[in-house]
């Protein structure tokens, strides 16, 4: 038996990190479904949007716990700067730095939803498409710096929600047969402006 007392913050950080990755994968999968066009979008509606938002916020909270809990760890003993600024930590700086970049990216692009009015809907939508890059950075960080990265249970926990999210994402990127009809429906807008002129 190992004394667990000194490792409570470490355990908390690890659990929060894994939870964050699982929630992020779930949020990404649901988000891709929202972006899906045609019948699926009409059926899913606001319920899925609410689920996407709730999962995203839960992800950001888990990421925050993941970072803040490390401040209490007596072994790594990072400074607040180390958990906020990428590539400044002593522990596996590259992998940890990538995770910090991913965390900031998810926070910035996720929370930008609430400033959509200022940013502009089209610009916000364009920015929101970069979220999978930061999600991928999180996966890389988990596998590179994660203590449990080689554990089978951990690989299952990360892979189980990530696989469908990746599948949906790839489907969205490379094969969206429903996209063309919708674009054709939206096409008349310039003609209206032409009539006005």
């Amino acid at each position: 038996m190992t004394a667990v007392g000194p490792h409570v913050f470490w355990i908390t950080s690890r659990a929060a990190g894994i939870a964050a990755m699982m929630l992020a994968s779930g949020s990404l999968g649901v988000g891709v479904m929202i972006r899906g066009r045609g019948e699926s979008r009409r059926l899913l509606g606001s319920d899925v949007r609410a689920l996407h938002e709730a999962l995203s916020l839960a992800t950001l909270i888990a990421i925050t716990i993941h970072g803040v809990a490390l401040l209490g760890d007596a072994y790594l003993h990072p400074s607040p700067l180390n958990i906020v600024v990428p590539f400044t930590g002593a522990y596996r700086p590259l992998w940890t730095g990538l995770g910090i970049v991913g965390g900031w990216g998810l926070a910035a692009l996720g929370l930008s939803h609430y400033a959509r009015g200022r940013i502009g809907a089209a610009r916000w939508r364009h920015l929101h498409r970069f979220i999978p890059i930061f999600w991928a950075l999180g996966i890389v960080h988990t596998l590179g710096a994660g203590t449990d990265a080689e554990q089978p249970w951990m690989l299952i926990a990360i892979g189980l929600p990530a696989a469908p999210a990746l599948f949906l994402l790839l489907g969205r990127l490379f094969g969206s047969p429903e996209a063309e009809p919708l674009r054709q429906q939206r096409a008349p807008e310039p003609q209206l402006s032409g009539r006005r002129g």
Partner: protein
């Protein structure tokens, strides 16, 4: 008739928006509960893994302990093998320096004449409880 229809449509719209709000709040609360449950389960898994001595970070320490135990008969303290932060290493270096400084002081103390004079006095037989 039109007014009645308008009122019906309004009440229907209100009911729809109410039900939508309810659904959204249900989804949010379920997501929060689910996230907390997920975190608790993961915390428990990591806790059990660590407490049972199967932690991947601490298992390297077990290997190191086994190797050191095989090399030297002296028992090694059961400390985790996680690498300390550079600050901690610096603190260790500082403590080593202090120990090195303390050695000459001890030597000077031994070479003091008072200590040498006191030594012959100890030649007298020591009376103990056993004798």
């Amino acid at each position: 008739m039109d007014e009645v229809r308008k009122l019906e449509a309004k009440s229907l719209a209100r009911a729809k928006s109410r039900s939508r709000r309810r659904r959204v709040s249900t989804i949010r609360s379920r997501t929060i509960r689910g996230s907390l449950a997920l975190f608790a389960v993961l915390w428990g898994v990591v806790f059990v893994q660590l407490a049972s001595g199967n932690d991947p970070a601490l298992s390297t320490k077990h290997h190191a302990e086994r190797n050191s135990a095989a090399a030297s008969p002296e028992p090694t303290p059961a400390e985790p093998a996680r690498e300390p932060a550079p600050e901690a290493e610096a603190e260790l270096d500082g403590s080593e320096f202090e120990v090195e400084e303390a050695v000459p002081e001890f030597e000077e103390f031994e070479s003091e004449p008072e200590f040498e004079e006191a030594a012959p006095e100890i030649e007298e037989p020591i009376v103990t409880s056993s004798s």
